[in-house]
Symmetry: C2
Subunit: 157 residues, 2 copies
């Protein structure tokens, strides 16, 4: 076994937990009133059965942002951060310092690129949104999407 | 955000990952030739989709024990440690130093008690096995079991 460590490191622990149970995602909602016709919604979320929810409250406290909500679709509790400012100021810096060790790290890198484009307002321009869609559709290849890439791009053309 | 840390701590990361995806379990198999009629099988396992298996190989390397196997029931890859010596020498000391933060810690404490009873050979005595069964049935309350507690104890009587 490794030498004993004096101090437990909660931040590494959280990265480990997120590598197993966390999800970075970018979703798109149709908004006819928006100039580009679409709302871009970044989300960082972590799921857990409700009987073991302590860790989610601890994350909320550690990240100093986000909210907990019940997901009735799979009967779990979710810690979720949707605010772009919180993602840029709290969540992304954490995972830059304490990176994921699995291939989920690729999703994080794409997620970070999208959030940085959004920081510059690129999601409100047709050209910028095309770039964002291209990045988002490389993420979480197994996940379900309401709209296809072409459906989103068709509105932009 | 927390102050940056110079050094990533893999061991805390692993505890975080295991808190999400790991399982400590004690199962029992009918063995008519055994004096007590039952084999007691401790297991520490961690599951992951096969496309993100890096972390499991890293755990095997870190714990210096265990094996990887495909679980056809849920199409995952599992890292598993079943050897009592490896559990006592490698796995349990790790989680004593880097404890789980969720209620899964209760399962670990029960698991450790059972492994320590097995170290003393208590699983080979009717009285000791009764104690072990009582501890094991407090673990993973949602999990499936092939035999009920009474079925196991009936053989002992």
């Amino acid at each position: 076994m490794p030498a004993l460590n004096d101090k437990r490191n909660l931040y590494d622990y959280i990265s480990g937990y997120v590598d197993g149970e966390g999800c970075f995602s970018i979703s798109f909602s149709r908004r006819a009133k928006f100039l580009v016709g679409w709302e871009t919604k970044p989300s960082f979320s972590v799921s857990q059965n409700e009987d073991r929810s302590e860790i989610l409250y601890r994350m909320q406290k550690t990240f100093k942002c986000g909210f907990l909500r019940r997901d009735f679709s799979d009967k779990t509790l979710k810690f979720e951060v949707r605010s772009l400012d919180d993602l840029l100021e709290e969540v992304i810096p954490h995972f830059e310092t304490y990176p994921l060790l699995s291939s989920k790290q690729k999703d994080f890198i794409l997620f970070k690129k999208v959030c940085n484009l959004m920081r510059k307002g690129e999601h409100r321009k047709a050209n910028g949104l095309s770039k964002i869609v291209a990045l988002a559709f490389q993420m979480n290849p197994g996940g379900k999407r309401r709209y296809t890439r072409d459906q989103i791009l068709d509105v932009l053309r």
